[in-house]
Symmetry: C2
């Protein structure tokens, strides 16, 4: 298995990215990595990692695409960037299985569309993060922002691709829910009412509508949404979780000695909880509908998230994601 | 000030509703209440509350509308229900200032449209809950589900009505944000891109786009959304908050003695936090755009929530909500 890593994307590039690469190589001794980025800067970071060098290829790519650049212009103009060279290599080299970047979401999307390309008959690729659920499982959210205006049939494709993704990740017969403003059939806006009928006609385990409050309850393994509502749900979830931890901290500082001792004793529980809710720990968001596996890791990714994203790319490539999506498309 | 209370709506009717009424009468000695419901069942609940009787009028309404009924049919057919008689009275009696119900949302909406009616030139009334913010303030969300398909101009009216509501509740020059999938101007789906231009042209304190993660950060006092995305945001927020508290409990039981002592010491902090995040404590959702003040209290409301909703109806009626909305409509 050979994964390409964009070493100059994200807030903590290149140090944490390279550290993440080494963690992944340590975790899987059959893994090979292509590190895309400025060779002169990458080589010193590999000091002391000589044991892994036989499984590392450095692909020199001296340019960097920043978060501030206009995505389409950046990927068009910076052909020597770590992002573009990595995606180009993914497209050209049949031996490579996936690509991971913590760079600008817009640039990863634009670059992936341009250089990797859609699977034939996929209407719109979708961005699908994996969220942890309360019962210790995971849920895939499709789409979380790549497509803000959708037609019902596109939500049907998101559902099929989300189910294929969950299956490629080892979940048998994943339950698929349609994000809606009520659980009963017949609820919804124009889009979700029509999408309900489309999803009900697909060869997936369709569990009907689910409300925002069931997003991470574990009721379903795949949640389907247009990218606008999906983005609102994802960011609201993130915002509320962060707010609650901030409020606990505030309450502890205001609560005097008693609260401080309590918090200290409860610390392992709270830390475990925070880790559980941190979707970075679960790897990145997969871009579904492309000819190859592309993972967008969080911009703030540290080594552990990068490692998780690499192993995630490996797993879903090995799980046959692309083939499963190609097969599912016969329904459309 | 005279408020009408539907005593047979909600999970805890009529006992908690009547208890809430008495709490409100105790809190405000100038308040008068009309209790709508089955007289034979209400009278025994007033035993021991003789001191308040001069400020209580019981309006006999023997029928009950349940959550299971089809809203429009129920309000049309059950003219003797506590809900319909209450709304009818609100419409007919110029001495009444507001109406509160914890009954079925659909029935309250349908009944209010039918018997109270829209303010002239209001395109669509909207349901606006008040959420607590991390910095100790509040934020009004308009709309949270009354209108799942909207046009840009309707979002403009929601913005104006939300600002009027916040002002009637005592917030000067409230900042209004448009719920969107990115903070930068130019972001959004077809609806929010156009709505942005509408909101920018209004005589309100428009703060631009806000993302889901800023819903309860306190960045703005009014968040505008179509009812679909607003519902997703509201229920996701509720679900995540509940999930985190469930996980803390779980972590505490699994964490052994150390975690249990920690939790016990931290209990006042956690309880205060839960209360802070419980939007029931902030009163109910206001139905904006009607000729009079109508508050939908949460179905699970207990006495304290009912009391909060009654005082909320009093405050925004006294704050001139209806007049402010009528004035704001001249912009459309």
């Amino acid at each position: 298995m050979k994964i390409i890593l964009d070493c100059f994307g994200g807030d903590n590039a290149p140090e944490e990215i390279v550290k993440g690469a080494l963690l992944a190589l340590k975790a899987d001794e059959k893994l090979t990595l292509v590190l895309s980025g400025d060779e002169g800067k990458l080589l010193p970071l590999l000091n002391g990692a000589e044991a892994f060098l036989p499984r590392i290829e450095i692909m020199n790519a001296p340019e960097i695409i920043s978060n501030e650049e206009i995505p389409t212009a950046a990927v068009r103009n910076k052909r020597e960037s770590s992002l573009v060279k990595g995606l180009q290599r993914l497209s050209d080299d049949a031996e490579t299985d996936g690509f991971v970047s913590a760079g600008s979401t817009g640039a990863v999307l634009a670059g992936a569309f341009m250089f990797v390309g859609r699977i034939k008959n996929v209407s719109r690729p979708a961005l699908a993060p994996v969220l942890p659920t309360v019962n210790g499982g995971n849920v895939v959210l499709v789409d979380c922002g790549a497509n803000v205006d959708c037609r019902p049939v596109q939500l049907g494709q998101f559902a099929m691709m989300g189910a294929a993704y969950a299956e490629a990740a080892g979940i048998k017969n994943p339950a698929v829910g349609l994000l809606n403003n009520g659980a009963e059939a017949g609820k919804g806006n124009e889009l979700t009412k029509e999408a309900y009928e489309v999803l009900a006609g697909l060869n997936i385990n369709f569990a009907g509508n689910i409300e925002g409050r069931d997003l991470i309850s574990g009721a379903v393994q795949v949640v389907v949404s247009d990218g606008f509502a999906g983005n609102i749900a994802l960011k609201t979830a993130e915002g509320i979780a962060n707010s609650i931890f901030a409020l606990i901290k505030q309450g502890v500082s205001a609560g005097g000695l008693r609260a401080k001792i309590g918090a200290a004793l409860l610390l392992p529980t709270l830390k475990g909880l925070k880790k559980k809710l941190d979707y970075n720990e679960n790897g990145g968001a997969c871009l579904l509908g492309l000819k190859k596996v592309v993972i967008k890791s969080h911009g703030a990714s540290k080594a552990s998230s990068i490692c998780a994203s690499i192993l995630q790319a490996r797993d879903i490539a090995a799980g046959g994601l692309i083939k499963k999506i190609e097969q599912g498309l016969s329904q459309f």
